[in-house]
Amino acid sequence: MTHHVLNMPIDEAQARALKLGDTVTLEKTLFGIRDATLIAMFDKDRRTRFDLKGHAVIHTAPNVKKVDTRPGNNSGYEPVCIGTTTSMRMERFTKQLMQREGVRIIIGKGGMGPATLDALKEFGGVYLAIVGGAAALETTWIEEIEDVDMDDLHPESLWKFRIKGFGPLLVTMDSHGGSMHAEVNAGAAAKRADVLAKIGGL
């Protein structure tokens, strides 16, 4: 169990050094994506002007307010409340996100499935679990909304955040085939029969 501070972006070796149960704090840059963003990028082949290579993406659609653009803020938005959504809906996009865009880290809640685990192993990446619903706290880790792309999909735009001390987050899926989510799910399935027997549910 090691704590890592990562200045984004990172390379493959840095991603593969992260192991299940390690904790991570991210610095500098983080991108926000969600269902509509990924559908546009991969089902409709829309390309972003952002370079996501080696970066981390978080499953989010933020609450924002409009402001004037200024140096360091090309988006015209300020954060109101930024949190994290359930990752599993985006399962079928992980491989393309890593293969085509070069993403190394996916941050979300609730974990992801076998297709993601395979992609993390093949390309070298991790899934970091954040505490879902803790958005007020998460917002304090975001300094600025630096830029935004595909804002016609608002709030499911592609967001570029400048972050400071974003974490600690937990490595729950790594590039070595480990998944804490799969472990917990298998544990629950194993306890099912006993639990049901006690309440006359078998």
Binding site: A135, H154, V184, V195
Partner: protein, 290 residues
């Protein structure tokens, strides 16, 4: 009591924002109980972060969770209350839209086919407005629930048959809790509807999921199943955020309705740990928020 429609609009706006920022006392107490009983180190850390978030939201006057949800307004009209019902529904919609634009809030509502977001938190049939009547004299109660989607996606209906028995009802609930794992943002309140027609059954599950902690099913048999299932789901080891631990749910809540001789329906609707709700009670003495 004659109800001022302008007042309803203001209350609808205020309630949406209040619900998103202030967690009800019973849920905060629920966290204290889970923290005491949790044995997993990861589970304790995750619960600690959730409790810290509640304090940060209060201190920074920010939203607890970024998901502004599907706005639901539950209206209870007491005796001797006079109002223009259609105007009330319009006023609630305006209040909901104003909260979204004036705060501002993320509009989480889209057309189900085109996926177009009007950026108003409103659309066809949304906000959801449920209207009921009760005995209280000269009282109008408006409860607002911003129902988060991560847990709303944990919704299930099964039209079981009488031969399946009550055992199958319990099995269905436990299996759905296992299936949802960490996706529904545990610790949850698992809402269970038993009986009725299919639509009533699903609605009962939502009523159960959004009932305050500490409340009990009014039906004795329902209350018994509620207690059994509450113990059962916390033995699965799913834990906070599905990362392991005892605290899978604050509580399982059951609501029941009579059903047909050929039917045995069961529904599940889950509420995440950000179990937000706010209410206002309007009487001749004024408005009281809770």
């Amino acid at each position: 009591m004659q109800v001022d429609i302008k007042e309803i609009e203001e209350v609808a706006k205020t309630l949406y924002i209040r619900a998103l920022k202030l967690l009800p006392t019973d849920i905060k107490q629920g966290f204290e109980r889970l923290m005491r009983d949790e044995t997993s180190t990861t589970g304790k850390t995750v619960l600690g972060t959730m409790v810290e978030n509640i304090a940060v939201a209060e201190r920074t006057k920010n939203l607890l969770c970024q998901d502004t949800g599907i706005p639901i307004y539950n209206i209870k009209i007491g005796r001797d209350v006079s109002l223009d019902g259609a105007a009330m529904k319009e006023a609630i919609r305006r209040g909901c839209e104003r909260a979204t634009k004036e705060h501002p809030l993320r509009s989480s509502v889209v057309h189900p086919i085109t996926r177009k977001n009007e950026q108003t938190s409103c659309g066809i049939g949304v906000p959801v407005i449920n209207i009921d009547f009760d005995e209280r004299p000269e009282t109008l109660e408006i409860e607002m629930i911003p129902k988060g989607s991560g847990s709303e996606n944990g919704s299930f209906l099964q039209m079981l048959i009488p031969a399946d028995g009550v055992g199958a009802v319990k099995r269905f609930v436990v299996d759905k809790v296992i299936e949802c794992g960490g996706r529904v943002c545990p610790p949850t309140i698992v809402g269970v509807g038993i009986g009725g027609t299919s639509d009533v059954c699903m609605h009962l599950a939502k009523v159960a999921a959004t009932r305050p902690l500490g409340s009990k099913c009014a039906d004795e048999e329902g209350a018994r199943i509620e207690a059994q299932l509450s113990e059962a789901v916390n033995e699965l080891g799913i834990g906070p955020q599905g990362l392991g631990g005892r605290s899978t749910s604050f509580r399982v809540h059951v609501e029941v309705a009579a059903t047909h001789i050929t039917m045995n329906p069961v529904a599940v609707n889950i509420q995440c740990h950000s179990a937000r709700r706010a209410s206002a009670t309007i009487t001749p003495g004024g408005i009281a928020f809770a």
